[in-house]
């Protein structure tokens, strides 16, 4: 197992956003994390990424206990992440953005530039390298953010609602890109998502959160037929009706 989260708990005042959640991602696996709004997906995500400190539980990555590690340490350990609202560093060009990612592994700016360009080529963004993200459409910014994350040389890539704001065609393109990266780089992935058409085809395994707890786990087919999952999303009426 590449990433194991056991009993992760996070409270905000009186609200328990994550209640003893378990999650696991194996080497080379693509795992989806779904659940209705407010289920605690992003909170869990941020706990894994080191942006938030969990109140309870353990997170083990590649054999190391990273439970209380800060974000930058988690990143250098090999976990890369994207953000729900794209954080394209608008004052830097696309190339410079990706270079920042490359600097996680190299010290020399020229080497960083070379690696950045290589990744941009892999992702298909080489011809916009000199432009500023603000001038580019959302889907390209997301691709840039992906490239930037990849430049850090991660073992695990975590995507936070990558499909948000994309048209069906753009989503299809992005999914194809992710599949290609998964294939060519053997990268493990954890994908939080709302959009079922995006995440279900991509994932080998799905974890479902609702109300801060994990309520189901399994293959996409198993999970979509699970009554408790249907109930969480659509309410009791639908679940009973099946």
């Amino acid at each position: 197992m590449l990433l194991v989260a056991q009993g992760v708990t996070k409270r905000f005042g009186g609200l328990v956003a994550n209640d003893r959640v378990d999650l696991a991602v194996d080497h080379g696996q693509v795992v989806g994390l779904i659940g209705p709004n407010g289920a605690g997906k992003t909170t869990l995500f941020n706990c894994l990424a080191g942006q938030l400190q969990p109140d309870g539980g353990r997170i083990v990555f590649n054999g190391r206990d990273i439970t209380h590690w800060p974000a930058h340490r988690v990143a250098t350990a090999g976990i890369a992440r994207t953000f729900q609202l794209v954080k394209s560093m608008g004052g830097l060009t696309v190339e410079e953005n990706v270079m920042i990612g490359a600097f996680a592994r190299v010290d020399d700016p020229e080497e960083a530039r070379r690696q950045a360009r290589r990744i941009l080529e892999l992702v298909g963004l080489l011809d916009v390298a000199g432009l500023y993200p603000g001038e580019l459409p959302l889907v390209v910014q997301k691709q840039m953010e992906l490239a930037r994350a990849l430049a850090t040389g991660p073992k695990l890539l975590m995507l936070d609602e990558a499909a948000a704001g994309l048209s069906p065609e753009e989503m299809e393109g992005f999914a194809t890109l992710l599949r290609r990266i998964h294939r060519e780089m053997g990268l493990s992935m954890l994908i939080i998502e709302h959009v079922m058409e995006f995440v279900l085809p991509l994932s080998e395994r799905i974890f479902v959160l609702a109300g801060g707890r994990k309520i189901a786990e399994g293959t996409p087919a198993e999970v979509t037929r699970d009554p408790s999952v249907i109930e969480a999303y659509l309410g009791e009426g639908y679940a009973r009706g099946l």
Partner: protein, 349 residues
């Protein structure tokens, strides 16, 4: 990074536009030729003041410009450098070159210790914090007998040219500050092209994103803050021997902190030559206002004008002159048929 590599990076300006490179070359020429061409004593003092403030603006740029952390307390480092040279000289007859490392070391140490705390603060909290720190230091220097308090320190007179105590001829002083200024500019140039420079810019754009990419935000900020202190302290050391008299009001006061920040902001924070342009605008302005309002004029009017400039900049062009040039270039590019996306911002990378 080998020394050779560092030097090579410091002298690389190839990513700047041709206009910028020509400008810098002309500036270098002007600085070198100046004392031979201009003999007027007053003009020479203005030139020295220009170079000193440009240098202090450069120091601000490391943390404030490229780092995006507004430092409102830069004067304290100038004070440390100045007192570091002046106190031992007056107490134990130490030469300039013994006091200089003392002042610089103190500045760096203080920045390191306080920076580890202060730089965890974001945005306005950091700004308020730097203000508070600088105010406390000024108070301490004013009330402490060790530092001679508000009376200040008069440096002992040595016949120029004295290279141990750095009492030089006017021409000598000009080249001294010119050398210090060029040194700091080269340092900034190395910095902006280095990994640390990129990291700081990433931090300036988005701290959370930067951390998610493996950047130790606090460590990077502290490094930039310490570099900034060194350069400012060097400026302070020069101030002490050039003006021959220092007191908390001249080297540690809020007014100086404001001037330092303004110099960089007016020209363009986060731009290599920003502080140069800023100094070029502010020093003549300062002189002009001083002549108009000074000597029986209205106290405080000069800062009223500066305040208006700051407010106008903040409201309409936070990027200063560099921003104005950017906007102009973009307007020009649009006129010639689109391709606005290809316009590179001023100041290179």
């Amino acid at each position: 990074m080998t020394l050779w590599r560092i030097l090579r990076e410091a002298f690389t300006f190839s990513d700047l536009s041709r206009g910028e490179r020509i400008g810098l070359a002309l500036l270098l020429l002007a600085i070198t030729a100046f004392p031979w061409v201009v003999r007027d004593g007053f003009a020479r003092t203005v030139a020295v003041q220009f170079l000193l403030y440009a240098m202090l603006g450069v120091s601000w740029n490391f943390i404030g410009g490229y780092g995006g952390q507004i430092d409102l307390g830069g004067a304290k480092n100038v004070g440390f450098g100045a007192y570091g040279v002046a106190l031992p000289m007056v107490l134990w007859n130490w030469p300039f070159w013994y006091g200089l490392p003392l002042g610089v070391a103190f500045a760096v140490l203080e920045s390191l210790v306080l920076g580890l705390g202060l730089l965890r603060l974001r945005g306005h909290y950091f700004a308020i914090g730097t203000l508070a720190v600088a105010l406390v230091w000024e108070e301490l220097f004013v009330y402490s007998d060790w530092t001679r308090g508000a009376r200040g320190i008069l440096l002992p007179f040595k016949r120029p040219p004295d290279y141990a105590y750095m009492q030089l001829t006017p021409v000598g002083f000009h080249y001294f500050i010119a050398a210090l200024f060029v040194f700091s500019l080269l340092w900034l140039n190395w910095f902006r092209r280095s990994k640390l420079g990129y990291q700081l810019r990433a931090i300036r754009e988005d701290e959370d994103a930067a951390a998610s990419l493996g950047i130790n935000v606090l460590a990077a900020k502290v490094k930039a803050y310490c570099i900034s202190s060194v350069v400012a302290a060097l400026g302070g050391a020069f101030y002490a021997v050039y003006y021959g008299f220092i007191d908390p009001d001249s080297v540690m006061h809020l007014d100086l902190s404001i001037m330092i920040a303004m110099t960089a902001l007016v020209g363009g924070a986060g731009v290599l030559w920003g502080p140069i342009v800023g100094a070029a605008v502010l020093i003549p302005l300062d002189r002009y206002l001083g002549a108009w309002f000074g000597g029986g004029g209205i106290l405080g009017m000069d800062f009223v004008i500066y305040a208006v400039i700051i407010m106008l900049l903040a409201a309409y062009q936070p990027k200063g002159v560099a921003g104005l040039l950017d906007a102009f270039a973009r307007w020009r590019a649009q006129g010639s048929g689109g391709g606005a996306a290809r316009v590179r911002p001023v100041g290179g990378r």
